[in-house]
Amino acid sequence: MYLDEFEYYAPKTADETFELAGRLGSQAKVLAGGTDLILNMKQSLLKPQCLIDINGVKEFQGLIYEAGKGAVIGAATKISELEHSAVLRDKYFALHQAARELGSTQVRAMATIGGNICNASPAAETSSPLVALGTKVVINSAAGERELPLEDFIIGNRKTALEQGELLVKFLLPEPAPQTASCYTNIGLRNAMEIDAVNMAVNLTLEADNRTVKVLRLVMGSVAPRPLVSVEVPALLVGQALNSNLIEKAAAAAAGEAQPISDIRATAEYRREAVFVLSRRVLQEAFNAAQEV
């Protein structure tokens, strides 16, 4: 349980970081909170020759919200900061909820949102809400900057769209439309310290009538190699005045879309069942919340 040896770099600026990332290429891993990376290295699942510690780079940290424009979250922002952010609670409730549910107090104090995403675990807590909220990621390298919708960034189980020398530096969350609410839910065996068997987030905007769905995104975690954006649920619900029958149908559709596998945490069959129940609950919850916005 000791680490293999590696070179350690602690850049102070973004440019320095990009230069290092470009120069060291695939030999290097980026160290943010370390709760996944160091564990993987201890278990010899990863053996990087170099670590680039980005905790000293101010540009990568913090949460800025500007009314009408949305939020920008630095990749190295701690989960605990998100958990306690009033803006997130008010504007991006699903992400607030997911941040609260992630790991333990200690893990939240260490782990970063960028790390949670770049680790690209299918069970990651923050990916479902971020995708549901329409988040874009900003990717930087010495060569320049590009933007991608988050769902295109996570391309598979533990795989991202990062090219050699590139870093994920920030998340762009659009300003929620009026009459919008988002919710997150998850299920695991215990009520803490879990890797979710299933998690799910929904972002829902109602028409002025306060009943009809205008826009809806439902994203499922841990039931596919990457966050699964439901196609059928919006197809069923957008333009409809929501009621419990419709929600039930949508939940069944979500369960049909899920592509779960069986593993040590749950069987595929159970996961599909859980998707049905959780999507029904989370849709209802989001609907109620959106009506009260």
């Binding site: 349980m1 000791y2 299920i187 065996l189 215990r190 009520n191 803490a192 310290m193 890797i195 040590i264 945490r265 749950a266 069987t267 069959e269 159970y270 069942e273 859980a274 129940v277 959780l278």
Partner: protein, 771 residues
């Protein structure tokens, strides 16, 4: 005669090791530092069953910083806590029998180097078929044996027959038979095993500091493995971070540290990683049980038939004892006039099972309490009524010759039913909410040493002088349960001083006097007897001196609050220290020594000439009892079971330290709630453990803590020292069946396999709907 009025016993006092622990100053084995200390690591097998063709450690030995490498050949002597079945070796010889078994060990100047060296050891295996299921293991024994000298892949099997159960069943009005399965669980104590050995080549003396709960048995095993006389070995326990039975025998870390120390001439420490704790296991035996209970028309139990296949894993360990305990446990806490038990403990290629809190009781208790719950329903009475009707009373002697000198079990049942509102709630709550009732008991010590000797099980030496005050010496093991504090309280009680005045020297085979260790919930009772005897000897001598100083007769004196008083003229009194001062000045240090030998029940009843079967097992000087009513909330859509409230009432005799008893009870309940709902070790088809970490092996977190209402019922066992009984293993017994019965009350499904996971609940609900 002894009264029930105590001043030191019966008080909730803070632990004597508490301040050091809250300050982080308590020293555990891995915290120790010695000059020239080296670090050992164990190379582990990557096959669950295979011949070892060759081990090449030349590259490891060549790595700078590596001091020595050992393999099984270095210590071929077999060890085992039960000497008759000892079949474990320090490191595998010729063959590995579970995935993760040690095959070699390295000592190096630091842990990093030792770990690196492990990767350089090349082991060549010839894989053998892997047997993971006990039934398959028995079936394929003709083709493949796990131990060459164990014919059917069975360690031992036994049958016990009391009365005529077949005839009794024939006359029963209500008969119920079911199969039950309990899961493969680990203690998950928080401190991984750690052993620090120091062999001194000049005087041939070995000292071993170990995180262990049976220093005496460890001492014996070391003597066997190291081929050294016991008097050249000293075992010392620093602070121990929990045991729960898992440290109730020696561990390879002990032997590897000792052997590597002898080989290198340096102190060597071996501390396990968490995954090594899991893969060396010694946790609870999974049991495949069949139990049948018959009641007459009035609801009195007439017969119990019990069949149990214990999945023992690779080695013997505590297996034989656990196996017979499961038979013994069907005889209490209800009156069972006819009984049969057929049991077998089977070898499989899994990490070995062993002793775990409530050893042998938890599995049959689950079956019995669930069956009684169902039988009550068949009869149309409450489970409470049925259990009260059959509950044992003080003075009961079971057909298996277990004698219960004192019990308040009925009071426990009554108290939980009243405090929980069981009768008002049971069967009357909305679908998804339920309450379940169960009872249980456990021994307070055993009748025999494991190696069948007739010496006392505990000796206590009390030393009193002007320099040290009062010092209690006893090699008992405080593994966190708090026995040092309890021993101080009991000694202070008799000596008339405060518990804070008493120093306790325990967990040391050289400075402490003989004790068997912390298992079978024996320490409070056993040390209590010995302390009383030793302290009385002290008092006898001090009373004589005090009598002279007060000009009265010794038998007219009493001692309390650090003063000797004349019973008749309380104004005649003198400080305790002054008397000790006079004694020490004239005679010198004062000592008293007390012993405890358990009352022995014979294997053969000489008066009737009948052989009493299983006579070694389950006999205890007295028994503790517990009853629990547990409430659950089942999410019928996701299948998640949430325990919302536990109401418990326990009979632990006189509580010496009520706060400590509460801690034992609350800890027992959460510990077992984990087995009921969350915990299970999973092996893949090759026998590799898939969740050998605390992330995937799910012990309850504080978020699972339900409301808890526990009561220590008024109890005093007149046959016991200070009226005491056990309190740390009885309360684990009812938790699983109480939860299972509550789930049944909530959703109408009886779960007979553990753990009761959301998946199982949901599947069962669907099947029920389908019907």
């Amino acid at each position: 005669m002894e009264g029930k009025k105590f001043s030191q016993v019966g008080r909730s006092v803070t632990r004597i090791d508490g301040p050091a622990k809250v300050k982080g100053e308590a020293i555990y084995t891995d915290d120790m530092v010695m000059a020239r200390m080296a670090h050992g690591k164990i190379k582990r097998s990557t096959y669950a069953h295979a011949f070892i063709k060759n081990i090449d450690y030349s590259k490891a030995l060549a790595l700078p910083g590596v001091l020595a490498v050992i393999t099984g050949e270095d210590a071929p002597n077999k060890w085992g806590i039960v000497p008759q079945t000892a079949n474990e070796v320090t490191l595998a010889v010729d063959k590995v029998r579970f995935h993760g078994e040690g095959v070699a060990a390295v000592a190096a100047i630091d842990e990093e180097t030792a770990e690196e060296a492990l990767d350089l050891i090349e082991v060549e295996y010839e894989p053998l078929p892997v047997l993971l299921d006990p039934f398959e293991s028995m079936k394929r024994a003709g083709e493949i044996l796990i131990h060459e000298n164990e014919p059917d892949n069975v360690l031992h099997q036994g049958e016990q027959l009391f009365g005529d159960p077949d005839q009794a069943f024939a006359g029963c009005k209500y008969v119920l038979e079911k199969k039950f399965y309990t899961s493969y669980v680990n203690h998950a104590f928080l401190e991984p095993h750690s052993s620090l050995a120091h062999y001194d080549p000049q005087n041939g003396q070995l000292q071993l500091w170990s995180s262990n709960q049976v220093p005496h048995y460890l001492h014996r095993q070391l003597s066997i493995v190291m081929d050294m006389p016991m008097n050249k070995i000293r075992v010392i326990l620093p602070a121990v971070g929990g045991g729960f039975g898992g440290k109730g025998e020696a561990s390879s870390s002990d032997f590897c540290a000792a052997l590597l120390s002898r080989k290198t001439g340096r102190p060597v420490r071996v501390t396990y990683d968490r995954n090594e704790v899991f893969v060396t296991n010694k946790g609870r035996h999974p049991c495949h049980m069949k139990m049948k209970i018959g009641l007459d028309q009035n609801g009195y139990i007439q017969a119990v038939d019990f069949d149990n296949t214990l999945d023992g894993g690779a080695y013997a360990g505590w297996g034989m004892v656990v196996m017979f305990y499961t038979t013994s446990m069907i005889h209490l806490p209800y009156k069972v006039p006819n009984a049969r038990a057929r049991v077998r403990r089977v070898y499989t290629n899994k990490p070995t099972c062993g002793a775990m809190r409530g050893l042998g009781g938890v599995q049959p208790r689950y079956a019995m309490e669930c069956l009684l719950d169902e039988l009550a329903e068949m009869m149309g009475v409450s489970a409470y009524e049925l259990k009260m009707k059959n509950a044992v009373e003080s003075g009961y002697r079971s057909v298996s010759n277990l004698h219960v000198p004192h019990t308040e079990y009925k009071k426990c049942l009554q108290t939980v039913v009243e405090n929980s509102g069981y009768l008002e709630k049971h069967g009357k709550q909305p679908f998804g909410k339920g309450i379940g009732l169960a009872g249980g008991y456990y021994i307070s010590g055993t009748a025999y040493t494991l190696y069948l000797s007739y010496k006392p099980h505990t000796t206590v030496l009390i030393r009193v002088d002007t320099e040290g005050g009062v010092t209690v010496h006893c090699a008992a093991a405080d593994i966190g349960q708090g026995c040092n504090t309890v021993m101080a309280q009991m000694a202070a009680e008799v000596l008339g001083v405060n518990y804070e005045d008493v120093h306790v020297v325990s967990g040391d085979t050289e400075l402490g006097t003989f004790d068997l260790g912390s298992f079978a919930s024996r320490v409070t009772y056993a040390s209590g007897v010995a302390i009383k005897e030793a302290a009385r000897q002290i008092n006898d001598k001090l009373f004589e001196v005090a009598a002279g100083m007060l000009s009265c007769r010794a038998e007219q004196l009493e001692v309390r609050d650090r003063r000797f008083y004349s019973v008749f003229e309380p104004k005649k009194n003198i400080e305790w220290e002054k008397v000790v001062d006079v004694y020490t000045n004239t005679v010198g240090t004062l000592t008293g020594i007390g012993h405890f030998s358990p009352p022995r029940l014979k294997g053969i009843d000489l008066t009737r000439g009948e052989r009493v079967q299983g006579a070694n097992i389950g006999h205890s000087p007295t028994f503790g009892f517990s009853a629990q009513a547990i409430e659950v909330d089942v999410d019928v859509e996701t299948g998640k079971v949430r325990v919302t409230k536990v109401t418990e009432a326990g009979d632990c005799g006189q509580a010496v330290n009520p706060m400590s008893v509460e801690g034992q009870v609350e800890g027992s309940i959460m510990f077992t709630l984990g087995q009921a709902l969350y915990e299970e070790m999973h092996l893949d088809k090759d026998g590799r453990m898939m969740n050998a970490c605390l992330h995937h092996y799910k012990v309850p977190t504080v978020m699972e803590l339900p409301e808890m209402d526990t009561t220590i019922v008024d109890s005093y066992d007149p046959t016991a020292p200070f009226g005491v009984k056990e309190s740390g293993e009885g309360p684990v017994q009812p938790t699983i069946p109480a939860i299972a019965n509550a789930v049944y009350d909530a959703i109408g499904v009886r779960f007979t396999e553990l753990p009761i996971t959301p998946e199982k609940v949901l599947k069962a609900l669907k099947e029920k709907q389908g019907k």
